[in-house]
Symmetry: C2
């Protein structure tokens, strides 16, 4: 295992210390493993929180700041955060207008966010939750009943965060997050495994001439193990199930998100975006906004995922709204 | 070789097509392998250009846009661009106020930019050049007489681009770039090799328990091959030669840049930043600005580099100025 770490046990703590040192203008570490927007709580604003296992950086901690998340709860690598963390985050960002939990659909995350919501409710904080489940690859998975929550979560956090920043109430913010979930689809693939530091060896074995189509963000099995193919063939293999699922239709406007899994260089992600643009245009669909880069990763896994979000004017407006976080910034 | 590509021969063209599709609001492809700011040429503005081999993305093409570069010339992977490209870029951005070439110190880049400058001069365009040579690892290198140009180039492009955007004349812009070069120092390391697509095999062999300290951005040998160490020890091994070189002194204000080589996840870069912050503070030096992420990469190499730039009020002001490029954006 070759990694820039000290010990697996101290990795997340040391990462958070580094984030706090680098981004003291944006965030603070409120409690162990709770990253909070520096000016939280903001009175009268709906708090927006997400969380999940570490190892997917910059998600979620890199999205805490103006116009996006009010707090993030990172667990150990690929391990759900605990209810105490989520409760601490919920209390830290509660400004009297309620708190939305954006939860990726993994059994541990769902259960722990539910417990935290109950505990917060007992302390008089209104909590609502939306479950993101945008991965079309598999119906059920290793850690999931139903579809996994993947790249669509990044887009939901940006859009919902903008609405909360603009003063929308809890019901409106929740409905908007559900709207994103209803209109977003994703699928990923891997060329290599990643290595969880505490495990010390690759999560799965894969041949030098093989790839995994439909991979999960923790290296969970996908749809099929195939022989290595060209970037264009891989892009087709990801885009087609996404386009066919909702389905996306001629005349649709979309946000196209090509995400790197952590170990794939940007030069390759643009090759994928090029082909995706061609495929989508070929169906009479317009890419109105895009995002290309590493935003929801699986440690150093090589591979990519594609996410398409069907847009309307409301979603475009909130996507374009100012954001200032460690990992995503514009308009400010 | 596992990569998201179609063929090595078409890789750069396809990447540029992807960039053009994703960032049509910011850039256009002016000539083969010449990325130009969409609104170039801007009359009365000094044009700022850089270029070099591909494989270091987002550098340089990702830095074309408002407040940074006017054009970038990507060569084949790890191969200098040709004079014709640089000439085309120079002419495309010439708005009558002259053009600055920011050149990383590699023999091929230097020679070809010099030829392009002569050709542009013959067409009546004033061209000046500044050579970036900030890598303290080695005195001479595989492709270099003198120090290599590495991470300091990213900072120079941002700062110089802001000055040109603000209307500074060619002599001022050149002097500012030289000031950045005089005040910036870098060093990198690698845990793994990268694989140049056309070669199809790793650039160098390295043991499972080894690392290369002082690596170049093309995988050139560094200072020494050592046994794998902790992130804290590695950070010390990079920071100490940088701090001692200029030397940086108590009371200095610096921009600290922790850069990923392409295959190292962000979670690890923050662990490095944490230790760097501690080391620098221990010497009575203040990190006033920072940048953490993948900005000057070596394909999928695992590793990182550290760059420190000594700041003054002028450099801070230009660093903070608005920028809007595919890879770096704030204030707009």
């Amino acid at each position: 295992m070759k990694k820039l770490i000290n010990t697996p046990d101290t990795l997340v703590d040391e990462e958070l210390a580094g984030m706090a040192a680098a981004h003291a203008d944006l965030i603070r570490i409120e409690a162990p493993n709770v990253i909070v927007r520096k000016d939280a709580p903001r009175q009268g604003k709906v708090g927006v929180i997400s969380g999940g296992g570490s190892g997917h950086e910059p998600m979620h901690g890199g999205f805490v700041g103006l116009g996006m998340l009010d707090a993030a709860c990172p667990g150990a690598v690929f391990t759900s955060p605990v209810p105490d963390q989520m409760l601490a985050a919920t209390k830290a960002v509660s400004g009297g207008a309620g708190v939305l939990h954006i939860v990726k659909n993994y059994t541990g995350d769902i259960m722990n966010f539910e417990i935290a919501a109950e505990l917060a409710g007992a302390e008089g904080i209104d909590v609502e939750a939306v479950v993101m489940a945008d991965d079309v690859a598999v119906k059920d998975s290793l850690y999931t009943a139903g579809r996994r929550g993947v790249g669509g979560t990044v887009l939901a956090e940006k859009i919902v965060g903008a609405a909360a920043e603009a003063g929308a109430d809890l019901a409106t913010v929740k409905a908007l997050c559900q709207k994103v979930q209803d209109n977003v689809r994703s699928m990923g693939m891997a060329l290599t495994s990643c290595t969880v530091p505490a495990a010390g060896k690759p999560t799965f074995d894969i041949g030098d001439d093989e790839m995994e189509i439909g991979i999960g963000i923790h290296g969970e099995p996908g749809r099929e193990r195939r022989k290595l193919a060209t970037a264009d063939e891989i892009t087709e293999a990801l885009a087609t199930p996404i386009l066919d699922d909702m389905p996306f239709q001629k005349g649709d406007r979309v946000l196209a998100f090509v995400n790197g899994m952590g170990g794939t260089p940007l030069i390759e992600l643009y090759v994928v975006f090029r082909k995706l643009h061609e495929i989508v245009a070929g169906r009479g669909i317009t890419i109105e906004r895009n995002l290309v880069g590493n935003y929801i990763t699986s440690l150093e896994m090589a591979g990519c995922s594609i996410t398409l979000l069907k847009l309307d004017d409301e979603l475009v407006r909130f996507w374009d709204a100012p954001v200032h976080t460690p990992a995503l910034r514009w308009g400010v």
